[in-house]
């Protein structure tokens, strides 16, 4: 980090640290201070680091984003909230990273379930969060992660007591309403034994323009609990989106993750799943659909730490214009994690000569009785398929559109939440020429 940028952040931090939720909580202030000093040491990731080789974040470093210290003067009629809200879902809305209770509709929750904002919890019951907020043992994964803790202010806090079951999907809607703002969002999900929940983490914009979303979501999924986490990144075309999702699974726990990256000039989503007890299972699906000069990076890491765990991963990407996608899928099977079963697939469809996909599957296996496979492809539309459709009277553009839709549909059809599946299907169609052909 150059001195000018460092000074800027130091100023911001000095100005804001007395103004964040939970300032009277000593451990929290210490946590922020430590995180900030780690950020100052680490700086922003550089392309010299293997993990960031293909993703240059200099545009973020060189932009000046103001941190919204206090909840914005939220207008209660943010038109977009109504249109973005998923029908039938419980809704918790954040504007520029700060919770907007007046726009939210969580409703009465069944016993044993807490859905609230991190800021409110930090003010009222900070100690509930102490464990979840503790700094990672090996240090923060990147400067962004450290920054996220240093400026920790808000996000969603979801807690399910043992056996609790939230029937309706929980829609966490993050709306960017102001330009040039940085939102450092932290979501914490704790699902105790046997509980179930389906969460949609949705990032959208009303104003457009450049801003930074720096989001971290951690999920603790205890014995036999089942958690779905579906992330829809539909930020403005000039936005920067840096996200991490970390899931820690207990015995026979299940985690279904999906990540849809449609927006942002630059997005990076790191998903890190620890299958930390016997019989845990996860599925990771993803779809990135980018055009122009968009850059979408997914780094996933699945750790089979214990025997008899299962992981499935399917990531697909459609790249047009001069866009660039990075998929790095790492699967680690620890010594002793026998009978691990891991499958990973990454398929990229390039619609233009200037688009580029960097696919890097990585299997790291330290046990001998395992079933692991992976495959990655980068290809183009098949001229035989195009001709077949055209020979049926479908024009060239619609034919291409149908084929792209068909390619992406495999991931969309797997979304287990029907309202989200419809929403994403619609988003996909609006992004295709001719609305995906006849694909209605």
């Amino acid at each position: 980090m150059n001195a000018v940028v460092a000074d800027r952040f130091a100023e911001d931090f000095a100005r804001l640290r007395g103004n964040l939720p939970g300032i009277y909580v000593p451990w929290l202030q210490a946590l922020r201070e430590e995180a900030f000093s780690e950020f100052m040491d680490k700086g922003f990731p550089s392309t010299r680091q293997e993990d960031w080789k293909y993703t240059n974040v200099a545009p973020i470093e060189n932009s000046r984003f103001a941190f919204a210290a206090a909840p914005a003067e939220v207008c209660t009629d943010l038109g977009c909230v109504g249109t973005q809200a998923l029908p039938g879902a419980r809704l918790l809305v954040f504007v520029d990273g700060r919770c907007a209770p007046e726009l939210s509709r969580v409703g009465r929750l069944p016993a044993g379930i807490t859905v609230t904002s991190l800021s409110a919890t930090l003010e009222r019951q900070p100690d509930r969060l102490r464990g979840a907020l503790a700094a990672p043992r090996g240090g923060y994964a990147s400067g962004f992660a450290a920054l996220n803790t240093a400026f920790l202010a808000d996000g969603a806090y979801v807690h399910l007591a043992a056996g609790a079951d939230l029937e309706e999907p929980l829609h966490l809607l993050f709306v960017a309403a102001s330009r040039n703002v940085a939102a450092h969002v932290r979501n914490i999900v704790v699902a105790e034994a046997g509980s179930r929940i389906r969460i949609v983490e949705h990032h959208a914009t009303v104003e457009g323009g450049a801003y930074l979303s720096n989001v971290s979501t951690t999920l603790r999924i205890e014995r036999s609990a089942a958690v779905e986490h579906h992330k829809l990144q539909d930020e403005s075309a000039q936005a920067f989106h840096i996200a991490s999702v970390q899931a820690d699974l207990g015995e026979a726990a299940r985690f279904a993750s999906s990540s849809f990256a449609f927006g942002a000039a630059l997005s990076r989503t790191a998903i890190d799943v620890g299958l930390n007890a016997e019989g845990a299972e996860c599925s990771l699906d993803g779809l990135y659909l980018i055009d122009g000069r968009q850059h979408a990076d997914h780094h996933t890491r699945i750790e089979h730490a214990q025997p008899r765990c299962r992981s499935r991963e399917l990531y697909k990407g459609v790249l047009d214009g001069a866009s660039r996608a990075v998929f790095n899928g790492r699967v680690v099977v620890r010594p002793g994690a026998q009978q691990s079963d891991a499958q990973q697939t990454n398929r990229n469809l390039l619609l233009s000569d200037q688009a580029e996909a960097d696919a890097k599957p990585q299997l790291e296996i330290w046990a001998d009785d395992v079933k692991c496979g992976h495959g990655a492809t980068v290809g183009q539309l098949d001229p035989d398929q195009i001709f077949y459709l055209r020979a049926r009277g479908v024009d060239d553009e619609t034919a291409r559109s149908m084929l792209v839709y068909g390619f992406a549909a495999e991931v969309v059809e797997r979304i287990p939440v029907p309202v989200l599946r419809q929403r994403i299907g619609r988003l996909l169609r609006t992004r295709l020429p001719r609305g995906g052909g006849a694909m209605q």
Partner: protein
């Protein structure tokens, strides 16, 4: 309806069709036969507008228009239908979407409104039943996981729905067992119509037992070397292609 004059076509510098002349009138059924590599499939694909063939000479007129100037989709909308020798699998696109897109593209071209969902489904169901196909095939991705027989039936189903003016069937009989052959042949026979022409490209006599053509043409090394009535197919069956194709060792091209 269709008039091919001295047509030359090939892939890159490799000539495949070397002076085809063929005239097909409404109401007629023609069979184009020939050994592997004689150019049968190339002829079918060139008529449908496949762009990896280079046309190097001759002309094709369809209902008085210059066919070669039209894009594949324009040809389809004008009423040309090619049943593919190898129907293409299209993952993620349900069969029913393709059928709907195809029918509505054709209707739009004719200035008709889109078929509403109820009428469309009724029409599709009627044709499905006739082809002995399971309705579940409508909701499966186009041709994906279909058996060889299901793929060919699916081609004939599309033809039956689109009611083309000129149907070109490229080895629609190949790879079928006898029961499937009968169903497919019935489907083709039902399309016989005074307003419609049918061109069946085939290697064997088999299909012609069920759909008796008015004319049979034998293609060899990119030319029609013999034309006649249905008896020509029988004679071919008896005497083999060596009879009309003495120089077949220097074969040209390959069936794509």
């Amino acid at each position: 309806m269709l008039e091919i004059k001295d047509l030359y076509a090939g892939i890159e510098d490799q000539p495949i069709l070397r002076g085809i002349d063929l005239k097909v009138n409404a109401g007629e059924v023609h069979a184009v036969m020939g050994p592997n590599g004689s150019g049968k499939s190339t002829l079918a694909q060139v008529l449908a507008g496949r762009d990896n063939y280079r046309i190097t000479g001759g002309e094709v007129r369809f209902q008085g228009r210059d066919l070669l100037a039209l894009s594949p989709e324009e040809r389809a909308r004008e009423g040309i239908f090619l049943a593919f020798q190898y129907p293409v699998e299209i993952p993620g696109v349900a069969n029913i979407y393709l059928l709907k897109a195809a029918i509505n593209a054709q209707r739009k071209h004719r200035g008709l409104p889109d078929l509403d969902a109820v009428d469309f489904l009724a029409l599709v169901r009627e044709k499905l039943a006739f082809m002995g196909m399971d309705e579940a095939l409508l909701y499966r991705p186009v041709n994906q996981g279909f058996s060889g027989g299901e793929k060919k039936r699916n081609e004939v189903l599309q033809m039956a729905l689109l009611e083309p003016r000129l149907a070109i069937l490229d080895e629609t009989d190949s790879g079928l067992d006898i029961d499937a052959l009968k169903v497919v042949a019935d489907g083709i026979r039902s399309m016989r119509d005074p307003q419609r022409a049918i061109v069946m490209v085939t290697h064997y006599q088999r299909l012609l037992d069920y759909v008796v053509p008015d004319f049979v043409h034998v293609l060899s090394q990119g030319r029609i070397v013999r034309s006649g009535g249905p008896e020509l197919a029988l004679e071919l069956e008896r005497r083999g292609y060596g009879w009309v194709d003495p120089g077949r060792d220097e074969r040209i091209g390959a069936t794509p």
